[in-house]
């Protein structure tokens, strides 16, 4: 310190002694990487208040005294200094500062903080990364970009939902998806309706955000980072900052235009047998769903039941799969205008996305418009606003075990049946279907006659003001809203098998109209103080209040029995059943945060938040959650560059956050009754009120409790951040332990209590995990730059306890198999019928020559866990290579472990359609041992299995009856390596562009999902029937994923 003072004194002295000589200096500031000029660079004269900035052409002019030091600074660039000598032109080229590039991060409530000061892990994704591959879905574009964030896309259909979790799950049955905050205001992001095993998928609400409008995304992974958001942030927070013109040079206006076009195709189709015809036991049967018939090459002539004439079927093998799919197209276009000036900054943008799916009649259309701006009213008062509008239409088809799901037939249509060549309805009656199997819809008929769509109109945004009370003291207020209406229609036409309408004459039909509205108001006021307390200690203080109020309303109208076919109005139905549900919830939170830093070396952060929530019982509504963290920058105490170490920080934090239970869970209720079938025999039709002009109510089977308290999440996080060789190598490691106690969920209780479940606090879920972000810049020259990032994440989600006497709870699926949370197992698990195994784990095959199942696996009489859904780890490899003006980015994802019930493959096997069933003539001995269960149910093993299955009937019985009765036989590993994204871009040279008034232009080519290596059979292992719900790990005739190729242009004026 003394030394610096001395030098300073000498300089001042010299300046006074020498007769100051004034000089006019001009020059241009350029980017060291591409040589482009840099507008908006600040040039200051050290030791004075004098300064200027470069103009739009990167030029500056300043008059200074000789010997003065010019300091050139620009955010994200290494600051350059030049001592003024005798020259009159000083040109400077600036290069990127890798150290500071990511230094500023957006944390809770939009507060920007130095990354260095944080005691927890956050990871940022730039808007460029989000939009580079032209993915129209923000969440899907996020896949693989952030360690610890897992995105499970339900399918590749336009507008399909995704299930996003950060560091695993917190809640058995409640919401496990993160909170999304756009420009400081939390918005609704989940699906309005979450998925089940049957029916249509509902889009997730983050689809309303155009990825092109995103400036950056910050993921606050742990509760320590998100604690200030209170109860809603247990699952982490995704903070989205949209483009606003902020940070642009004053006087600058920029117009950005980008467009891209993508071709989508189905990523994977099942491998089918092509030898055997429709039938059973080797005999032709034209009405069965089975393909256990005779060899197609021996079929001969038979009476065709559809054509009603003799038909030579010999050798006629039909492709019933490929003709169903088409090439999908996606066109994205976004234009935005941003600018800044003395008044502030603004950004206006429009976006349009049009997508047609890989299946006819599916598609998505999205229009977005937004306006954002900040205005400096006085030097103390800034006001701003932000408005986003979006209009989204999704056309879709039903998936899962829905009798109208076309894929049920497409994947399983017998090879001897000419699905696309034969008529699909009676020539005299368009609603009387022709199909080889009963009950189900002919896919061609369903595609022509069924209609499913949803449309969402949404407005969200905020107005805000910031007032500077004094230096370092600000008061900020933000009032935000999120309002949307989703409405839609689902028409199962008259004659649809879904409604039992395949009668003669056709009957049934169903029209389902729905509208969901959501209105959320969010008000946030806070006071911030940033002060230096002493020379060494700096203070950051925050105190605030948040008010959040959400009202939702669901209106559904189901009309049954369509009177006139083809007239798709609900008035055209025989009976209508209405359903209405309204909810209202409110949270009022008070929060405070205190940050202290000592010499930029030691950072202490403590926060507290008290929430008062409407949906907890009276007297139990107020809760306090604290967090504390410590960061220690070791390198501040070392000499720079010691052992190549540029930066080293250790961090530790602890936080507690709660999560509330479902709404209206404190009082027992009566619900609309009826007598639906319960075992799935009549598809939930049953008797519904009003019936015979009466209405009926029944006591809810869920026991509610006035004694609920919020569940509690305790998180401990430890980590370090090391950077070497001038930041060219970085290693960021985090370990975390998340312990959730007092889960609120519907605890199953014996029905003999009078209820099937009880909402109460019980159970404990623990998650521990590791995250590593490794970055390296192997090459960095003027012309060639290579950035490589690896994300690694691995976690164990374990259910430590459910409730006394409760061993597992049902999350979704079928009677069997299903997905459950099970005590002392990872979360969630797949539950179903297992193979009977001996003590050594060998599969036991029945040894009973009198049985048709002789030599085939025996089902264990006790069902149990048949698979773990959680993967062992996920790794993502992101390469960014630039050579002069060519940029190549590609991402490879590797998921190891995790299992899924392959419902689709199961059907293929039992129907005798899977390529696995192709060989029906060779001798076959099932692996394992042989044995039987004696009368007391004890296993008797009689030796290694040597029973040969050699008849056609045995092959059929093996697949159709023996294996099919064992759910475990359909559980497969979901490990995969996937070439997720590729983007190749070329920036047109400045010399060409300058003449036509274009600032920058690039063209690019993209690919998504280009290759997939996996052992998972037939379908994409990332497909899920559960959509955006917690029920993951079960796939059942899910809609397929896509592979895409595209190209695009970005222009900036």
């Amino acid at each position: 310190m003394k030394k610096i003072c001395l030098i300073f004194a000498i300089l001042v002295f010299m300046g006074n002694v020498l007769i100051a000589q004034e000089r006019r200096i001009t020059g241009t500031v350029t980017d060291a990487v591409d040589g482009s000029t840099m507008p908006g660079v600040t040039i200051s004269v050290r030791g004075t208040t004098q300064g200027t900035i470069t103009d739009t052409n990167g030029r500056y002019e300043i008059t200074v005294e000789e010997g003065a030091t010019l300091v050139f600074s620009f955010i994200g660039m290494v600051t350059e200094q030049r001592v003024v000598g005798t020259e009159s032109v000083i040109n400077v080229s600036m290069s990127m500062d890798l150290a500071t590039l990511q230094e500023i991060v957006v944390t809770a409530f939009g507060i920007e903080r130095e990354k260095k000061a944080l005691s927890y892990s956050v990871q940022e994704v730039s808007g460029e990364m989000m939009s580079q591959s032209g993915n129209p879905s923000m969440a899907n574009a996020l896949q693989g970009k952030v360690a610890g964030v897992i995105v499970r896309q339900s399918s590749g259909m336009p507008g399909s939902s995704s299930h996003v979790t950060i560091r695993g799950s917190r809640s058995f049955t409640g919401n496990n998806q993160p909170l999304y905050v756009v420009d400081g205001v939390p918005i609704s992001s989940g699906s309005d309706v979450s998925g089940g095993v049957s029916g249509t998928d509902f889009s997730s609400r983050f689809l309303d955000i155009n990825p092109e409008s995103i400036e950056s995304i910050n993921v606050l992974k742990g509760p320590a980072a998100s604690a200030l958001y209170g109860m809603r942030a247990t699952n982490g927070v995704v903070i989205i900052t949209t483009k606003s013109g902020r940070g642009m040079a004053k006087g600058q206006t920029r117009v950005n235009f980008s467009t891209n076009y993508t071709w989508d195709e189905v990523s994977r189709l099942p491998e089918l047998q092509s030898t055997y015809a429709q039938g059973s036991a080797g005999a032709l049967n034209q009405n069965t769903s089975l393909s256990w018939g005779p060899r197609i090459d021996t079929l001969g002539t038979y009476f065709h039941r559809v054509l009603e004439e003799d038909y030579d079927g010999t050798g006629r093998v039909f492709d019933n799969v490929n003709p169903f799919f088409q090439t999908g197209h996606t066109l994205n276009a976004t234009i935005d205008v941003s600018g800044a000036g003395e008044f502030g900054n603004y950004s206006v943008g429009f976006g349009q996305t049009d997508q047609t799916g890989i299946i006819d009649k599916t598609g998505m259309s999205r229009s977005t418009a937004r306006l954002a701006g900040t205005f400096n009213i006085t030097d103390k008062l800034t006001v701003g606003g932000n408005a986003n509008f979006s209009s989204l239409n999704v056309d879709k088809i039903p998936g899962g075990s829905n009798l109208s799901n076309p894929l049920f037939t497409i994947y399983a249509a017998p090879r001897s049946y000419d699905l696309f060549g034969l008529p699909y309805h009676d020539p005299n009656d368009p609603y009387r279907q022709i199909h080889y199997r009963a009950a189900m819809d002919n896919p061609l008929w369903a595609m022509e006659n069924s209609v499913f769509y949803e449309q969402t109109q949404r407005v969200f945004g905020n107005v805000n003001a910031s007032y500077k009370i004094a230096d370092g003291i600000n008061i900020n207020y933000r009032l935000g809203t999120d309002y949307f209406i989703t409405d839609g229609k689902e028409v199962y036409e008259k004659g649809s098998g879904f409604t039992g309408g395949r009668t003669n004459p056709p009957s049934g039909g169903q029209i389902f109209d729905f509208a969901y509205t959501n209105l959320e108001i969010n008000s946030n006021i806070n006071l911030t103080i940033n002060r230096s307390l002493t020379d060494d200690i700096d203070l950051e203080f925050l105190l605030g209040n948040e008010f959040s109020d959400t009202k939702r309303r669901f209106l559904e109208n189901t009309g049954r029995t369509i009177t006139i076919g083809g007239f798709r109005n609900i008035n055209n139905t025989g009976t209508q059943t209405v359903f209405e549900s309204s909810t209202w919830e409110r949270t009022v939170g008070f929060f405070g945060n205190l940050g202290l830093s000592w010499r930029s070396t030691l950072f202490l952060n403590a926060s507290g938040r008290n929430d008062i929530v409407s949906y907890m019982p009276e007297g139990n509504r107020s809760f306090f959650y604290p967090s504390v963290g410590l960061g220690f920058v070791l390198t501040e105490l070392m000499d720079q560059d010691e052992a190549g170490l540029t930066f080293a920080k250790l961090r530790a934090s602890w936080a507690q956050v709660g999560q509330g239970g479902p709404l209206y869970s404190t009082q027992n209720i009566f619900v609309t009754g009826g007598a639906a079938d319960v075992g799935g025999f009549i598809g939930g039709q049953g008797i519904q009120f009003p019936f015979q002009n009466q209405n009926g109510f029944t006591l809810s089977t869920v026991l509610r409790s006035p004694d609920l308290v919020p569940q509690n999440t305790n998180t401990t996080e430890l980590g370090f951040d090391l950077r070497f060789v001038n930041n060219r190598i970085g290693l960021d490691y985090t370990y975390y332990l998340i312990d959730v106690t007092d889960q609120i969920y519907a605890v199953p209780i014996p029905a003999s209590t009078g209820f099937t479940s009880e909402l109460r606090n019980a159970g404990r879920l623990e998650t521990s995990g590791h995250e590593v972000v490794f970055t390296i810049v192997p090459v960095l020259t003027q012309d060639f730059e290579w950035n490589f990032t690896t994300n690694f994440s691995s976690y164990q989600n374990e259910v430590l306890e459910l409730a006394p006497g409760v061993t597992d709870i049902f999350l979704g699926g079928f009677v069997q198999p299903n997905v459950r949370a099970q005590a002392n197992s990872s979360y969630p698990v797949i539950f179903g019928t297992r193979f009977l195994r001996d003590d050594d784990g060998n599969i036991v095959n029945l040894d009973d020559p009198t049985s048709a199942f002789h030599g085939m696996p025996i089902a264990d009489p006790d069902a149990g866990v048949i698979g773990n859904v959680q993967p062992d780890f996920e790794m993502n490899f992101i390469n960014n290579i630039r050579y002069r003006s060519i940029n190549l980015t590609f991402q490879i994802d590797w998921r190891q472990g995790g299992q899924m019930y392959a419902g689709n493959t199961r059907l293929q096997k039992l129907y005798g359609m899977d390529a696995m069933t192709e060989d029906r003539e060779s001798d076959f001995t099932a692996p394992g041992v042989k044995g039987y269960l004696d009368e007391d149910g004890n296993l008797v093993v009689t030796g290694d299995n040597d029973i040969v299955l050699n008849t056609y009937d045995q092959h059929q019985t093996y697949w159709l009856d023996a294996m099919d009765a064992i759910d475990e036989s359909n559980v497969y590993e979901t490990s995969f390596v996937r070439f997720r994204e590729l983007s190749l871009s070329y920036d047109l040279p400045q010399s060409v562009l300058a003449n036509v008034g274009i600032n920058s232009a690039s063209i690019y080519f993209t690919g998504r999902n280009l290759f997939l290596w996996t052992d998972y059979p037939n379908f994409d292992p990332e497909t899920s029937t559960g959509g955006a719900g917690n029920f993951q790990g079960l796939e059942y005739v899910a809609l397929p994923q896509t592979r895409s190729y595209g190209m695009g242009v970005r222009l900036s004026f």
């Binding site: 009976t575 075992g679 025999f681 015979q692 209780i749 009078g754 061993t807 009368e935």
Partner: protein
């Protein structure tokens, strides 16, 4: 100074806003459920329970599985084919949803009615309502014990104060619960009251006499069930039966299904949507061998054919998902508004015939013949045809009538909509002999998976016991 005041006003407004926005009163208002009431009147509960009894308790899963077990039908598709072939489909999940519906929906609603109409309740003095609820409760409890055996009763329906109810024995249910409930019901129903459920009673439209006769009929049924136990009292059966139905009009049959898709007979919905059941060889043979005039009315030719009759042998049916291989019950039987019999007039006659068997053969025969006659008349059979049928020595022997005669006729009379009672009779008497090629049906349904999951310490038997542990009243 002025600025300071503004701050103060602003701060004060903010405090007021925040405090009113999260007061307990405001939060209570917000937390009031606008979708579901916390209490409903009897007039909204009565339609629910009177549709539950014919559908949930009598019309769906249990009856479908029982039908296949007792060979009223043959399962030719999916779960029911599995049950017919005794595969792993016979497991604790098969009756799970029914058990849950009985315990957590049907009986709790009946209990609410009984409670509400009690002296402490919100609608006291509704004796017809409470009497009906008790009849329906006895009917449901009997169904539970007949299907599963021992069952929680004395410790059941206590919510969170007993999360693991212990089981009562079937003997306890039969000797300490059912008759007492029915006696109380009869007493309530015979009490003078101005309150009548009227059209909210979807079964009888508030006809008290028919409820009383139903209560007596059920008493007779449950007393007769004790024929293998030391508690059997034939005279008590006859006494109860004598107070029961005197014709088919009065009987415990649901006749109010509608043509609307959500108002149709559950068997019709099942046949329309899934087609699990086909005509069994057993019933076909019993009818055909004796030239039973009901056969052509009951059986339908194979779909798509004019006259191909092809019943399916139990245990050996091919998968007939398309409904093109086997014959099914005809549309004379299965149609949207078909009546669903829960206890018929002829059952009362057969109960009396059986009760007289040990003491008065003449009365036994008289009731037996009356039972057959009523069962035939139900299907519009001409008197001459009935007489011809009764002329068959195998049907009506000149000598003594046996239990087998009665139960066989009862078995046919229970077809198609009361297979559970046929299954009960089979397990009680061993008649008629079962023909399933794989083996006899299980003695009981396995206890539901939910009991193994959350009341494991109290479930008396494991799932494997269904083939070797019989019910208390069984043969």
């Amino acid at each position: 100074m002025k600025k300071h005041t503004l701050y103060k006003i602003f701060a004060a407004l903010l405090v007021i806003f925040v405090i009113t926005a999260c007061s307990e009163e405001k939060m209570n208002e917000i937390d009031t459920n606008p979708n579901s009431p916390t209490d409903v009147p009897l007039s909204l509960l009565m339609p629910q329970v009177t549709i539950d009894i014919p559908v949930t308790v009598s019309g769906i899963d249990l009856s479908w599985y029982s039908s296949v077990f007792v060979e009223h039908t043959t399962g030719a598709h999916a779960q029911l084919r599995g049950a017919d072939r005794r595969t792993a489909e016979i497991n604790p999940t098969m009756g799970n949803n029914q058990w849950n519906a009985f315990y957590s929906s049907v009986i709790p609603d009946l209990n609410v009615i009984i409670e509400k109409t009690g002296p402490e309740g919100s609608e006291p003095g509704r004796f017809v309502h409470s009497g009906m609820a008790k009849v329906m409760k006895a009917y449901t409890v009997a169904r539970i014990t007949d299907i599963w055996g021992d069952m929680p009763y004395t410790q059941a329906w206590q919510g969170s104060s007993n999360r693991a109810p212990e089981y009562d024995t079937q003997e306890f249910i039969y000797t300490q619960v059912l008759q007492q409930l029915l006696d109380e019901a009869i007493q309530d129903l015979q009490t003078e009251t101005v309150y009548n459920p009227g059209t909210t009673d979807l079964i009888f439209g508030g006809d008290v006499d028919r409820w009383i006769k139903t209560a007596y009929g059920l008493k007779a049924r449950y007393l007769q069930r004790l024929s293998n136990t030391g508690q059997y009292d034939a005279a008590a059966v006859i006494a109860a039966a004598n107070n029961s139905f005197t014709n088919r009009e009065e009987e415990f049959t649901f006749r109010n299904f509608t043509e609307a898709p959500t108002g149709q007979h559950p068997w019709y919905q099942e046949s329309n949507l899934r087609k699990h059941h086909v005509f069994s060889q057993q019933v076909y043979d019993l009818l055909n061998d004796r030239n039973d005039p009901r056969l052509p009315i009951w059986i339908a030719p194979v779909a798509g054919t004019e006259d191909v009759i092809n019943p399916a042998q139990n245990g050996a049916a091919e998968n007939d998902q398309g409904g093109t291989i086997y014959s099914k019950a005809s549309s004379n039987v299965v149609y949207p508004t078909a009546p669903l019999e829960m206890m018929t007039y002829e059952e009362v006659l057969f109960l009396k015939a059986e009760a007289y068997l040990g003491s008065n053969m003449a009365d036994a025969k008289e009731n037996y013949v009356a039972g057959i006659t009523s069962a035939m008349e139900r299907w519009g059979i001409e008197e001459a045809d009935i007489e011809a049928y009764l002329a068959d020595e195998d049907i009506l022997p000149a000598g003594d009538l046996t239990l087998e005669h009665i139960i066989k006729q009862k078995y046919l009379a229970f077809w198609l909509y009361n297979p559970v009672e046929a299954y009960n009779d089979y397990r009680r008497t061993g008649f008629p002999e079962m023909t399933n090629v794989i083996g006899p049906p299980p003695h009981r349904f396995p206890y539901p998976q939910s009991e193994y999951d959350s009341n494991s310490e109290n479930v008396p038997l494991g799932p494997e016991s269904i083939y070797n542990v019989k019910l208390w009243w069984a043969l």
